[in-house]
Amino acid sequence: MNMMTAFPAPHAVLTRTEIAGIVALAARAVPPLWPLESAIAVNPLAGLEDLAFEDAVKIGAQRFGARESLPLAQWRKLLAAGRIDERCLRDAAIRHIGGLEMAYMPIAPKLTRLDLLMARLLHLPCDGNGDASPKAPPATPDAAYVAKWCAAFFDQGLAASPMPYRELGLYRAVLALAPHDPQFHALTADTAAHLLLTVPRDPLEAIAEALAVLEIGEADQLEHLSGLVARLPGWAGHIRWRNEHADADAAAGAPATMADLLALWLLLERGGAVAAQSGVTVTTDPTDALARHFALSAPLPGAVVTIAALDEAELGALFMTAAEWSYRNALAPRLEAAARDAPDAANASPAPEAQLVFCIDVRSEPFRRALEAEGNYETLGYAGFFGLPIAVQKFGDARRKRFLPVLLSPQHDVGEAAVPGREQDAATLAATQAQVRQASGLFDNAKCGTATAFATAEAAGPLAGAVMAARTIAPRLVNRLSSAFAPRRAETLAPALHRKDCGTAVFTLAEKVGYASALFRLTGLSPSTARIVALVGHGGSAVNNPYAAALDCGACGGHAGGSNARVLATMLNEPDVRTGLAAQGIALPEETWFIAAEHNTTTDEVTVFDQASLPASHRADLAALCASLVRAGDANRNRRASLLGRTADDLLTGAVHWGEVRPEWGLSGNAAFIVGPRWLTQDTDLEGRAFLHSYEWRDDPDGTALTTILTAPMVVAQWINCQYLFSTVDNDRYGSGDKVTQNVVGGIGVLQGNGGDLKVGLPRQSLFMDDGTPYHVPQRLLAVVHAPLARVEAVVRANDILARLFGKGWVTLMVIDPETGKSRRWATDRELSPPALSENDA
């Protein structure tokens, strides 16, 4: 033994800058988590999108202790229900085995590899009871401890008495409180009490010291910290949202960074309190069952062992592939046929009575179909924020809210003001709001005062009993009564394009013209517009439902999209803007009038805004349109009611009932993102499973519009798709579990039961039917683009994010060539390439 090893060199303590760099990378282990008030869908594995989908799923499963696929029993139920084509499953199995020859080659008398694999997929007993949402093991004590402080620290005012020392930041506040906390002492070794006094107060320095003391080598540091971030994906995600996407006032008085969270974890680890994550699942070896099934005796052919060695996750992946192929095989031929029969520009159908621009949301498609059946209406799809990067401060709200996709940051602050002539009503609304605020403030204060809490309960009790009975038995009546006495908000207030304080314009003319022309450039809407063009935003209706905002427009930052529609419609009706558009070659007919509307996706009612400002000449047109909208709403509500297993009338009740856990299916079922003109899809019932973005390749020679569509709305659609996919696959880890045991925390999200992590993803009721089978079939997004192959390829190659999403298998890209009407699929990096665009194989 020489001198060098006798004195091991102490691990170098990293500098703050170095640590900050590692922490920033480790933070990417989880995606940001938006508060439910403005719920935004994110991919829980967003941090792993650099990897191939299959690898990311495996690593995610280890990192988060999650399942890789739906349980086999659930897949079989979906197959039995006809939601997956068995031929596609067979094809997927054949591909897995390595081709037809391998699959059908006999390995024993009358036995092929395919027989073996199909038996495993379809018949052999599977692990577990097939419950799609088993509850997680109880939070380990260390995670429960960190989660407890996160909940207290990040509370947005649910607790009347805030956590002490919050102004010091999360880590230092806990350092100050932990000496008084018996749970800390129970959790850690005796030395930890001393540690509380001596650890650095700066979180970055504390991390550096901890990494050195714990002897975590440089190579393992990032992995170690990432693992700790992923222990509580909800709270870590909340920290990311707060620091990267929230307005500064959200964190006022209580600063916290990922370094705080990691310093806290490492404090526990130094105290000996961090438990090793055990992710081992014991599965039964199906070899014997397989042998019995086919009456094989030893020695078993090697193929039996190979196929017996497949785990449920691998079998589940085959089912998912089969689900994707089932969908694609049904859709592709129909779109190809439509593309071949492209309407001739020369003998186009007569000019439509009205044009309506809807959000790309999957819930727009069935409504559009129903409306088109009511008359000669042309409908288009456009991102529901209508291209306006705005934040809106609603009348009476203390804060502005972001009405735009989270990929963007707000460029304009829009307020709300009284509609001309309705100033009196606006004043009444303001007074009512002030009174309600005052009353609820008095009530909140009285119910937690040591002298006042008891009499408050006694005095409020009888009233509470009456309200409770009314809301349970006659919610629609309550709703009608409560709205009868107040001026209607939408008729009284409108988004203000001028600032209240100084009267300056929120938008310059050039900006207005820019946003207005984007509508035409991105959707291919022809400048020869109809007499009425409606911009239709959307929102959902739900009461007493923490996930209400998840039913609203994601493109509007988890809010109803009416405000954005109203702002753009107002701009498009301004003569200056029309002149500006004409200068850009978009000369609109003088008689065209733009109106804004909002589609309620829960009730299928459509509110048309600002009808008073409509020219008298257009009244009859609007009346006809409104009648059609009502009929289309009835039709679509009936269709949706059958999917929900309820009556259409009950959907109206559910929208205002405080006990309703599934007011609508939301974006469940989403499967495709189709970029192209409406005639491509008009004759195909897409069953509310497709995002539809209008696009006219002829108007976009350089592909800029296509680039925008694919890199913005499609990316958002992919987030949504991945959120639904993973929330279904493991509803406890990637989703938020059963609604009935959720517990709202801090005003920002939910816990399950008594505590633990802030839940991510969607609740069970949003994804699964009452009998527990998935309504949402987990499958990856199919993006379909109607444009020349070369142009699409150029766009994809020029944008890393697209090359990654398509190449790594997160989204399947299918291009329909307008000239030939043939579809091509973008090959993943794993498949043989070049050429990247191969013959559509499935």
Partner: protein
């Protein structure tokens, strides 16, 4: 055995129908029952009927919806059983069954370790309380050689005083376990694994059992001043402890649970004082109040923006106003005591007066407009009328309050405790002071399941 959705909803519908029918039929079926039983029975059925109707939607997708509705129905039946029976043996059996059924509902979700721990914790607390109850009832039954409640209560004067005291203390233990008094609060504070409607019923119907048993056996307590005074002490402690928990919890459900501990403490304290009518009215009104809050707990998203912290400070009664109201209240109390009218219900009544004064004066000062002032005054007047009406009903039902077992001045001390803490609390709120660290941590940790700690 998977039941089809149709069958499931039929069973649920049957439970709902039975509960509403029971509520309507109650006055006819039980017309001869004691008013106390009628009132508590009606409250239980009303809340249960609402909860079950609510659950038709809310529990629609529950994998064990059948078990849920059946257990719920049995729980209500068990509660009604001990509320209406005159037979001590039936009383004990129904009482024990109700605890067991509630624990089943706390652990309703299968395969969830946390739910199992919470259910077990509730069972442990109930086991202690049930043992005490059975022991108390056994003593009474053996001593009087009767299982009939009226007979037993009538022959109390013949019982030796130490035995009565022991029985009363045992009853108090039983009440404390059900009403989640310290040291039994943990089961209620960690029961958030129960589906929301169960929590609503638990906080509105089940925890009242503690108060009910004290009112039902009031003569036993009245013969045992020590037990009554003990009830005042544990009630006061829970009243204040629960408010502390409520104010620090960042999650809506446990915050409500803290509030229930507090409200039950106040009610048990009222029983100890002998203010029976006030206690019974508290049971009814708080039950409705808490069921409403629990069923509506999904609305707490985004509620932070209107919290006490961020609301304009003018919404809180100012410390000066608080101090003035407290001083005036104590002054009135002192005058009443000196004059010799220090009755058992003085504490609840004067706290009610202080609440009305604080709300009215604080609200008037901050009202945004003249119209708002009028509406506020009207609302407070209406609430006072409800409150007074309710008290009148319970007074008519229970008759006179018991005579205080304590010297009059203790009433002043009790009032001073509530009012003094209130002044301190409002002062801290206005100055936005946090609680002392040790106290804060203790309150925040209250009720943590041992199952998820080492």
């Amino acid at each position: 055995m998977q039941s089809t959705p149709v069958q499931r909803s039929r069973l649920a519908q049957a439970v709902v129908t039975a509960l509403w029918a029971g509520l309507v039929a109650l006055p006819f079926l039980a017309s001869s029952a004691a008013q106390l039983s009628l009132i508590v029975g009606a409250l239980t059925l009303f809340v249960a009927a609402i909860v079950a109707t609510f659950s038709l939607r809310y529990m629609r997708a529950d994998p064990r919806a059948d078990a849920f509705f059946i257990t719920l129905a049995l729980l209500v039946a068990a509660v009604l059983g001990f509320v209406f029976t005159q037979n001590l043996a039936l009383f004990a059996m129904a009482w024990i069954a109700s605890g067991w059924l509630l624990a089943r509902l706390i652990g309703h979700t299968e395969g969830w370790a946390e739910a199992r721990f919470a259910a077990r914790r509730a069972m442990r607390a109930f086991a202690i309380g049930d043992t005490a109850l059975v022991a108390a009832l056994a003593v009474l039954a053996f001593h009087t050689a009767s299982l009939d409640l009226a007979t037993v209560l009538a022959s109390l004067p013949a019982m030796p005083a130490p035995l009565v005291t022991a029985t009363a203390l045992l009853l108090l233990v039983a009440a404390a376990a059900r009403s989640a008094m310290v040291p039994f609060s943990g089961w209620l504070l960690s029961s958030m694994t129960a589906p929301t409607p169960v929590s609503a019923l638990m906080h509105a119907g089940f925890v009242n059992a503690g108060g009910f048993v004290l009112l039902r056996f009031a003569p036993v307590l009245e013969a045992a001043p020590i037990a009554r005074n003990a009830a005042i002490v544990i009630g006061l402690a829970a009243a204040i402890y629960g408010i502390g928990i409520m104010t620090v919890r960042p999650d809506i459900k446990r915050s409500l649970a803290g509030s229930t501990v507090s409200q039950m403490g106040f009610m048990i304290m009222s029983c100890g004082l002998g203010a029976y009518a006030a206690a019974l009215w508290h049971i009814v009104a708080h039950g409705l109040f808490k069921a409403w809050l629990f069923l509506g707990s999904g609305s707490a998203i985004g509620s932070g923006t209107k919290s006490a912290q961020q609301a304009p400070a003018t919404l809180n009664p100012t410390p000066a106003l608080t101090l003035a109201i407290s001083a005036a209240t104590l002054g009135i109390a002192m005058a009443l005591v000196v004059e010799g009218s220090g009755a058992a219900s003085l504490v609840p009544l004067l706290l009610g007066t202080a609440t009305a004064a604080a709300t009215t004066l604080g609200g008037l000062a901050a009202a945004p407009s003249g119209r708002a002032r009028v509406m506020l005054a009207g609302a407070v007047a209406g609430l006072i009328a409800f409150h007074a009406g309710g008290l009148a009903v319970t007074h008519a039902a229970l008759g006179a309050d018991a005579v205080l077992a304590l010297p009059d001045w203790t009433l002043l001390a009790l009032l001073a405790a509530f009012l003094g803490l209130w002044v301190w609390q409002q002062l801290s709120l206005t100055r936005r002071n946090a609680l002392p660290a040790r106290l804060y941590v203790h309150l925040l940790n209250a009720g943590t399941l041992k199952g998820d700690l080492k």
